[in-house]
Every structure is written in C-alpha cells, then in structure tokens.
C-alpha cells in the first residue's frame, strides 16, 4: 500500500493561466497532491496551467504520469498544461518517454505559457 505524503504546491494567478509550483520530490508517494491540484483547475473558466518544475529535484514515472494525465484532462476541458523546466534529468525523462512531443516545455513559465494550444 502506498502511504500518501504531501508536497507543497504554490498556486500563482497569472493573466489567462495559473502556475503550479510544487516544491519537493514528485514520486508515487507525493504525486497525489499534484494530481489533486490539477484536478481543481479543471473547473476553472480557462483551465490553463503551467507546472513549474524548478523546485522538484526528483521526479519518477508517477510524477510524469500525473503531468500526462493533467495534459489529457485539461485538454478535454478546453484548456492545456505546459511545463516550465530547466532540470536536465527531467528533460531527459520527457525525451525518453516521448512526453515532450505535443506538450509545451520551456525553460521559463512565460515561454511555456506562450506554447499553450489555442
């Protein structure tokens, strides 16, 4: 059984989208917090979210799965999910799994938000 732990997620309002800034490892134990935070955005008028991975030193397949699930759910709700990330390890994970294809991934939040699917 997986014991749920929490990762702190800062939510910042920007014009037309929101930034989610998790701080801490995103793994099978903590990913529930990110999934819930994304889930809450689905009911927004414009469910567009940039997940800033600057404060995430480690992310496993569960974290990646939550991001991908977020992309699919937000797109179904008429929105999108983009990722701001400069960490090489995460970028490699995106490249290996193919997550980066079709999802806006950029070094800064602004650049990532510029890549939202209209």
């Amino acid at each position: 059984m997986v014991a749920q732990q929490k990762v702190e997620i800062e939510v910042v309002d920007e014009e037309g989208y929101r930034i989610l800034r998790p701080s801490g490892d995103l793994d099978v134990y903590t990913v529930g917090s990110l999934r819930d935070a994304i889930g809450r955005m689905i009911d927004e008028e414009t469910p567009k979210v940039v997940v800033d991975l600057d404060g995430v030193p480690f992310m496993d397949s569960s974290g990646l799965g939550a991001l991908m699930g977020g992309v699919r759910r937000l797109r179904e709700a008429g929105g999108d999910l983009a990722v701001a990330c400069t960490r090489e390890q995460h970028l490699k994970l995106f490249a290996i799994t193919g997550f980066g294809e079709g999802v806006s991934i950029a070094p800064t939040v602004e650049e990532a938000a510029a890549g939202f699917r209209s």
Binding site: M1, D60, S61, S62, M68, G69, I96, G98
Partner: protein, 534 residues
C-alpha cells in the same frame, strides 16, 4: 463532568459519614438539652418547692407555738417560736436566691411581707398583752389578725407552689417537644442513611455490572469479527473511558484486518505476476538470454517477456508507471495484450499499436508503460526494435584483446510510451550484431537509483559499470550491476531493477532449429528473480 469511580465511591461513603456526624450532633444536642432540664428541675424547681413548704410550715408552727404559750405560758413554746422564726428566715433567704424574677418574686415578697407583719403582730401586740396578763385580748388579736396573716402566707405559698408546678410542667413540655424533635431528626437521618446506603449498595454495583456486561459483550463482538461494537456507556467514569477505548481498539483491529486483507491481496497479485513472468526462458542456438529482476516491493511495474519463434528471438522489457498494485496491474494488462497479439502472429509494429490501443481504453489517463520490443534474427545477427519511451539499450561489443572493452548506448529511433497517445509513433531501429556482442535491455530503476545524498546513478555510471564488468560471464554480469547500484543507493532501492542480457553467439550451423520448442540441447534457463525491500 467526568467523575472517577473512586470519587463516586468516596462520595457515597462521605455522604454516609456526614449523616453519621449529623446523627451524633442531634444526639449530643438532645443530651445537653436534657442535662439543662435536669439542672433546672434539681437545682431550681425542687429546692424552690422545698423552701416554700418549709416557710409555710414554719409560720404555721410559729402561730402554733404563740397560741400554745398563750394557753400555758410555757417558756419552751416561746423558744420554739424563735427557732421557727430563724428557720423561716433561713428559708426565705434561700427562696430569695431561687426566685429572682417575675410573679414568683412578687408572691415571695408578699409572703415575706405577711411574715414580717406576723412577727411584728406577735412581738409588738400579742407578747406585750400577754406580759400585761391580758391573755384573752392577746388571743383575740392572734385569732383575728394573726390567723389572717398566716392564711395570707399559706395563700402566697400555694400561689408560689402553683407557679413552680407550672414551671415544671413547662419544662416537661419542653423536654417532650425536644425529644419529639430529636426523634424526628434521628428518624430522618437514619432513614436517609438507610436509603442512601441502599441506593449505593444497589445502584452502583448494578450499573457497574451492567456496564461491565456491555464491555464483555463488546469483547465477544470483536471475537466474532464485528469490529465496531455498540458500546454505549455514559457513566462518566473510568468504565466509560474503557468503553471508548474498546470502540477505538475495534477500529484499530478493523484497520489491521484491512491491512492484512490488503497484504493478502498483494500476495495474490504478486503470485499472479510471478506466474505471468516466471516462464522458463526459451533458448535457441545462437542467442543466449539471461533475465534478472529485483523488485523493490511485493509487486511492481517492471515486466519482460522472451519468446522464440522461427529462428527469431523476441525480447521485451517494460516499465509501467507508478508503484505497487496499480503499476502491477498496468504491467499485467500490457503483457497480456502483447502476448495475445503476438499469438495472432502479428508483426512487431502491429503488436505495439494494438497494445497501445488496449491500454488507452483500459487504463486511467495518468498511467503509461514504456516498452522496448526487440527481435533478434539468429541467422543474420540483425536486431530490430521499437523503443516506446524506454531507456536505450546498451551494446557491449565482443571482447577485443587489443582494445579492451567497448560499449555504448544504442540510441536509435524513439517513440512515445504506451497508454498516452493515439499515435505513439512506430519507428524501428535496426542494428547488426557480431558474434560475442551483448545487448542489455534494462529499466530506469538502474538509472534513477538514488544515493543517500540524493544523487542519481545515471547513464554514465551505468555504462562505466558494464564496461568494467565486461569480462564477467553472462550468468553473473547482471548481478554485478545490481550489486553496484545497491551499494550506490546504500541498500535502499525505491524502484524495481530489471535487466535482460542478450548475447549473440553467431549463426548456428543449422538454422532450421527455429522451432518453438527448446533447442536440441534442451537448455532451459530459469528466470533469476530476487526481491529486495519488504
């Protein structure tokens, strides 16, 4: 308010003690009251009566003595009179001390006044008349005036006696009323004490035993496996606390039972997964496959498959996202679809495509699995694979005595993980192997293993380790790698480690051995699985 059982019992006995003290106080007050009555009767009323009687008697005796002396002119009678006068004075003095107030004093004063007049009559009229020899005149004065004064004295004496008797009657009434009061108070106190005692003796043990019965019933319910017993005890004491603890204990036991059930389910899931993976690895001359798996938990998301058909060896390694049961289910679904599709004889791209479609339908949006699907052609040494979001395989070149070990990652074409996109991409990579070449397929557990400092093992360390252990035989090289990773992570592996080492040994003399049965040598290699962690 919460009262402890101890304070309840102490309170009960305290109340009893209070009642006993009250009883004692009433008895003592009655005793002192009777003592005061006794004092009044013995020290005041009775001596008063005696004094009045003595005074009246004394005056009667004085009158008698005067009369006698007038008749006989006897000196002794006059002496008798004087003695009685002294006696009367003594008792009058005593009476003055006893009767100090009210009507009694008035009667006494009038009595003494009459006495004084009698003395004056005797000494100033009668005695001079008698001395002058005028006895008949003295008799007349005594009969007319003396008798009236003695009668007054008797009347006042009677009035004093009556007053004294009334006072005594009052005292008697007071005693009676005090006794009645005391009787009522004693009866009430005794009755109260009896009632309280009876209530304590009946109610406390009854309530206690009823609540204990409830606790016993709760233990029976828990024994029957009903972990939420209805323990309704509102006694406000330790028994209620015990009841609440019972309910808490029941909940704890229920949680434990659920955990035990989950463990059991996990065991079942683990057994299913083991059975699915634990198939003897088919071998064929020309290619040797050695699988190795180390699971971090009872069940995990890593999976693999090996198949031999028509001189082709298929090697599949997958890694489902997440951990635990969810990952294991995803892995099981992926492996099952893949085998089913392969059973239909479909080519590799079609197998991957169909498996992706099935996973898109069957799993939630957060789940995915990476796969590498490789097919070795035994006769040509050609290996082609589809990499679906998986770490690139590593090629260890055949040992070269001159240049030492040589190896590198086979990057090739990349596609996307399964279960995410309708079109994950199906680009294949083809590489031709030389006899002695070894290809290692592995999961990201090797690369993402973390040191206590948070550093990941990574591709470079992994490549270095493989090159260093290149001289080690196929049977042991995987174990060496696992050992290095475990040491790096200080024994704490969060993720499964899976590795399939494949060695191309060159085209066999006769390639017609490409049937599905084990080769002529009949070699069957058992999967070498171990489990770390729990």
């Amino acid at each position: 308010m919460r009262l402890s059982l101890r304070s309840k019992i102490a309170g009960g006995f305290g109340a009893m003690l209070l009642l006993i003290v009250l009883l004692g106080w009433v008895t003592l007050s009655l005793f002192f009251s009777l003592r005061s009555v006794q004092r009044r009767v013995l020290n005041e009323a009775l001596p008063g009566l005696v004094a009045v009687n003595e005074i009246v008697r004394s005056y009667t005796a004085q009158a008698g003595a005067v009369r006698g002396s007038l008749i006989g002119s006897q000196q002794t009678l006059l002496e008798r009179y004087e003695f009685e006068v002294a006696t009367a004075e003594f008792w009058q003095e005593r009476a003055r001390e006893l009767f100090t107030s009210g009507t009694e004093r008035e009667h006494l004063d009038q009595l003494i006044d009459a006495g004084d007049q009698f003395h004056a009559l005797v000494e100033e009229r009668i005695v001079p008349l008698a001395t002058q020899g005028n006895r008949s005149q003295a008799f007349l004065v005594l009969d007319q005036q003396g008798t009236r004064l003695i009668s007054d004295i008797e009347i006042q004496g009677e009035l004093l006696r009556t007053a004294q008797e009334q006072a005594l009657a009052q005292v008697e009434g007071l005693v009676r009323s005090r006794a009645r009061q005391a009787l009522i108070i004693v009866s009430l106190v005794l009755g109260g004490a009896l009632l309280l005692g009876a209530a304590l003796a009946y109610l406390l043990p009854r309530r206690l035993s009823r609540n204990l019965d409830r606790l016993v019933e709760a233990t029976r319910a828990i024994e029957r496996g009903e972990f939420e017993p209805d323990v309704q005890i509102r006694s406000g004491d330790e028994i209620e606390e015990l009841g609440d603890r019972f309910v808490g204990m029941g909940r704890g036991l229920k949680r434990l039972q659920q955990l035990a059930l989950q463990d059991r389910e996990l065991e079942i899931a683990s057994s299913i997964q083991r059975n699915l993976l634990r198939r003897s690895i088919p071998t064929t001359p020309g290619v040797e496959v050695v699988p190795l798996q180390r699971q971090a938990n009872l069940v995990g998301g890593d999976w693999y498959d090996v198949d031999v058909a028509a001189a082709q060896v298929t090697v599949v390694v997958g890694d489902a996202s997440g951990k635990g049961i969810a990952a294991a289910l995803m892995a099981t679904v992926a492996l099952s679809f893949l085998r089913a599709e392969r059973g239909l004889g479909s080519p590799a791209p079609r197998i991957i495509e169909r498996t992706n479609e099935a996973l898109l339908d069957a799993t939630d949006p957060d789940s995915f699995t990476t796969v590498i699907y490789a097919t070795f052609d035994v006769s040509t040494g050609e290996v082609r694979w589809l990499n679906m979001g998986h770490p690139s395989p590593f090629l260890l070149r055949a040992a070269d005595a001159e240049n030492g070990a040589e190896g590198y990652y086979l990057e090739g074409s990349r596609n996307r993980a399964l279960g995410w996109f309708d079109d994950p991409g199906l680009a294949e990579t083809i590489v031709r192997l030389q006899p002695g070449d070894r290809v290692f397929f592995f999961t990201d557990g090797f690369l993402e293993a973390k040191s206590p400092e948070g550093e990941v093992f990574g591709e470079n360390r992994f490549a270095d380790a493989l090159l260093r252990h290149a001289p080690v035989g196929m049977d042991d090289i995987g174990e060496r790698l696992v050992g290095e990773v475990e040491r790096f992570a200080a024994g704490k592996l969060d993720d499964d480690l899976t590795m399939l080492a494949v060695e191309y040994q060159g085209a066999p003399a006769s390639v017609d051995a490409g049937d599905e049965r084990p080769s002529a040598s009949g070699r069957q290699r058992e999967r070498r699985d171990t489990q770390t962690g729990e």
